[in-house]
Subunit: 226 residues, 2 copies
């Protein structure tokens, strides 16, 4: 049985951006089907954070899909032999997971077809981000064009929109919008190498963007550092 | 250690088309990294067929990735409660798996980045096919455009080509080309509901296209029917 409301699939990592994205989708009136991935990431506490955020925001459904990305290798986020950089780097950093957003969005597309959703929300951001190619607006537009041709929704004409509400915001904007939409950021984890108690390193790319964001937003940083 | 030859990732299902595609990629001089998916398909004997084809054609590597598509539901190929149609149907049939080729190609893109491949081969075919939206040339072109923006290869400019050598061929053309390139079609399984001994039903969409193809090619059909 499907509800009569409009439905969205929302990619939820357990980090700050996707939590805000989920809250904005809920506020926009969508019944939200949150989707998280267990892909052998170092920061497995992210998935616990995703569960806590999904519960706190009372979304319709939260599904965690197991992906075998570790066996493909090639990223410091899934390969324990590679070190997470603690200083800014030029170019695409080693924390980049090959084709990760493409794989995540492909699953979101499948989930959207199955639950008959009219939107997919993804919290990509082209300003305060780590330089991953699959976070750029041009990439999102190209995925949208492909999605329009890939699915029943595309063929039968009722369509499916990729929504990226955070894409042009800086971290401070995202934090302010999240607080406004009811996100409890103490539940979220951004650190690429958080410990088993979800305490952040304070030094990786992701920690630096987050700390600076709270500072600029003038909002107290609830992150627990180790 | 990487070999000096050019590399390709080849999607290999165990069916007739992808076996031909692999043989053509090998013949074109690529070191082939074959990729198959265990996605809870009914026709699990396809994976045994894929292994046999990969071994027979002596490709560089054959990786089988487990995907959790069954929990998403929505297709007769993964949901045992839905019947496989045995007559032609109008529109997109129930055997369509939501976003399947998008998910497969997303993994191929990740694998291509990791092994530094310059091509991905996929045996889609726009003539003798089951009416799936993600087999059409326009879909493939859109995936190519997205892939160009999604990855290191896209950003750093050395590029990655999606190769679809079968796209405009009919089944008889594919069979003739496969035989010419050394495929042993007795190893392949096309049936959507093959039994545990890989014997075909002879009645589903896929069986009908295959049988007709051998007939038109004037090549003896090695398929074992039950």
């Amino acid at each position: 049985m499907r509800s009569v409301g409009k439905r969205a699939v929302v990619l939820l990592s357990g980090g700050l951006d996707s939590a805000t994205c989920l809250a904005l989708a809920q506020r926009a009136g969508f019944d939200c089907h949150a989707l998280s991935f267990d892909y052998g990431q170092r920061h497995i506490v992210e998935l616990q954070a995703a569960r806590a955020v999904a519960a706190h925001l009372a979304c319709q459904e939260h599904r965690i899909i197991s992906l075998d990305l570790r066996s493909l290798g090639g990223s410091a986020l899934t390969d324990l032999r590679l070190a997470v950089p603690e200083q800014p780097v030029a170019g695409i950093p080693v924390t980049y997971v090959p084709a990760r957003n493409t794989i995540f969005l492909a699953y979101a597309l499948a989930a959207a077809e199955v639950v008959d959703a009219s939107a997919i929300f993804i919290g990509v951001n082209a300003l305060d981000y780590s330089g991953y190619p699959d976070c750029r607006p041009a990439y999102i537009e190209a995925f949208q064009a492909m999605a329009n041709l890939a699915t029943r929704a595309g063929v039968e004409g009722h369509g499916l929109r990729l929504e990226t509400p955070l894409v042009n915001w800086n971290k401070a904007d995202i934090i302010r919008a999240g607080v406004d939409a009811g996100v409890d950021f103490s539940l979220t984890v951004s650190c690429y190498q958080a410990d088993e108690k979800a305490r952040a390193c304070g030094r990786c790319d992701s920690c630096r963007f987050r700390r600076k964001g709270f500072l600029e937003a003038g909002i107290e940083d609830p992150t627990r550092y180790r």
